[in-house]
Assembly symmetry: C2
Homo-oligomer: 391 residues x 2
């Protein structure tokens, strides 16, 4: 984290998967940049790094404010995003592109991989003797960034899946006699699947079992848990993460796809439902809302949207203060009411670090979460109202 | 359809899968029954026919009206529902249960299978010399009942999946380079999958391909369609029904489960995504919101909810008029503005009949729907607003 005065033009790029609130961060960044008049231009790269390499930019300061407000209400990235890896010589090519437009500040919006990339780009600029500020704007549904209390995008994804667990729980209660797996987004960190516990209001409410990918899940334990719940209630809803592994480090025999961050099962819920039917003789099925959970407009969290905007604003302020090599963070303030402020943390402390759910926030039996986790997540997700029943 | 004057007690039962608005029909039935004072009791069977056989009833006229209003806002069946088949001697056992509580009217809420069951129960009562009115309340997300313009439950499920197609389309647009299958509920009738076309607002909007289960889909044609769209846009969203079959009458090699209405694939979208990746070398994945789509509270259609309530009211009015052996229908009235009234049709004309999408409402190329279908569905689903973009 260093300080310098910028001026010239700035550029914002999106990196990694979109979220329901990434455009709110864009709004915050643009409105604060307009207010501070620190940069002559604020370009938006079309499709992240790919747009920088192809010089495909939108001048965001030219945008009609009413249109920008509408863009900020839309889920998914309005600029477009990319999973392009930097690769050898990548930082140098980007710096070349910056030079052609006199871009002196990069706002990189993404998760821990993207923050690593931002640090590499900053190093590349230094090596090339090119004066460049680099500021990270946090964005990931996975909520796995270090140095920040939570990340924009998480609250909305968590809200979607908590609502999904509530609805599927209602279905399973009305038409019992089967086991329902709800497959939730998330690879190594179980923050989203954990939040499905917010769906519970009455005794017997779903989800009855919640597994976090922080712990391997032996198939026998899963089956014993399901059998016990089903014997008691005659129904069972299981929230499980697409990244859940068994005690052999495998995805229970599901179809998996390799990637830079390890393999990920493509049909885990379905596979587990089949195993339950085959081994326990209980009717079982699985739902997989999948990507719908990361870009759902109607179910986004209002707090998440506001905080995403805050992060965009804080990034513009940091730029005006000459900050470089840092990511905006959210700091939860002590006190009875939920309140956050923004801070800054060096990119190096975030790059490549995955912040998982701490072991003490898991239930000792490995099939649920602790009250502390719910206290942490509830204000980020917003209220998940229960439904009236006739019981 | 016969006429008689009832009196005594009445009973309402839910049958088949729950919907987002089945409790609105319950509200309509209770409020009109209270108003007409035609029955001394209105019992609700817990878990459909199972509750009748076990004599598990809720007295709905005792309910606090404020609580009933809240129940009507909840998706999924508040009474509980059942897939129990009548079986040999089933009607007789039900009539015995009616006799013990002097139940003189059955309101059976369900789809075409349930209306067949209602007709059998009516016949069983006649054979036993037991005076019983039987009135059907339409309920199915599949929209496949004869004699009615559409069915309560359909508009909300269609709204859910149209929104899902919009959101997943936005994700696929922001992060292109892959094919996305959106697996939609529906077995033989493609009404829901057809409604995903309402997600489109701008050129290039998803879904790019929509397949209706009314037509078999040769795998080669699917692959050619996907390849063509992907070559043009660099992305592709396909809406496909879980009941879609290939030209050999099989589910493309997906895992399937047998049932009274034929086999149903459990992982069709995933299977098709794998085939696209293997045969075309294009990255592909699938989302399957599944049952979430039939019981989603936040995304229900306001028109659907109002009409479900109307159907409940109309059922109570029909009972007071002495009608028996009929189901309430929705009749779309001619004129520039959308308007429906309720009617009645004999159970025999609905029982076991599946009303599919007419061939002229399919696109000639077999991968989309016609404008007539959208005109039909739009008022039932409600507006699916488009999102602002930066393009």
């Amino acid at each position: 984290m260093t300080e310098r005065r910028g001026g010239g033009a700035a550029l914002v790029a999106h990196s990694g998967g979109p979220t329901a609130v990434i455009n709110a961060s864009l709004l915050g960044l643009v409105e604060e940049t307009v207010k501070r008049r620190f940069f002559r231009h604020l370009y938006g790269a079309r499709f992240g790094l790919e747009g920088i390499l192809k010089r495909e930019f939108v001048d965001l300061l030219d945008l009609d404010p009413a249109r920008l407000s509408r863009v900020a209400q839309a889920p998914s990235s309005a600029l477009g995003t990319s999973r392009l890896e930097l690769g050898p010589g990548g930082a140098e090519r980007l710096v070349e592109a910056f030079r052609t437009r006199e871009i002196r500040c990069l706002f990189h919006t993404g998760g821990n991989g993207s923050m690593g990339m931002a640090a590499e780009i900053a190093a590349g600029a230094r090596a090339a003797g090119y004066d460049l500020q680099v500021i990270g704007i946090p964005k990931t549904i996975d909520n796995d960034l270090a140095e920040t209390d939570h990340t924009p995008g998480y609250g909305s994804a968590a809200r979607f899946f908590a609502c999904a667990a509530r609805e599927i729980g209602g279905d399973n209660r009305a038409l019992p006699g089967q086991v329902e797996f709800v497959e939730v987004l998330g690879r190594h960190a179980g923050w989203i699947v954990a939040s499905t516990a917010l769906a519970r209001h009455r005794p017997g409410d779903a989800p009855h079992l919640i597994y976090l990918p922080e712990q391997p899940l032996p198939l026998d334990r899963l089956l014993a848990d399901v059998e016990r719940v089903f014997a008691r209630l005659g129904r069972c809803v299981v929230a499980v993460c697409e990244g859940q592994l068994d005690d052999r480090g495998e995805a229970f025999g599901a179809d998996a796809r390799g990637g830079s961050r390890g393999t990920l099962a493509m049909n885990l819920g379905h596979r587990l439902a089949r195993l339950v039917t085959e081994r326990l003789g209980i009717k079982a099925r699985a739902e997989k809302p999948g990507l719908l959970g990361r870009v759902n407009g109607p179910l986004r969290s209002a707090v998440d949207w506001r905080e995403a905007r805050l992060c965009g604003r804080a990034a513009a302020r940091a730029a005006a203060r000459g900050i470089s090599g840092a990511m905006v963070t959210l700091l939860r303030q002590p006190g009875p009411a939920y309140h956050v402020t923004t801070g800054l943390a060096p990119l190096e402390r975030i790059a490549g670090v995955e912040r998982c759910v701490p072991p003490e926030w898991l239930h000792p039996e490995g099939n649920d979460v602790s009250p502390e986790l719910l206290e942490y997540a509830a204000p980020l997700v917003g209220e998940i109202a229960g439904y009236e029943s006739l019981e």
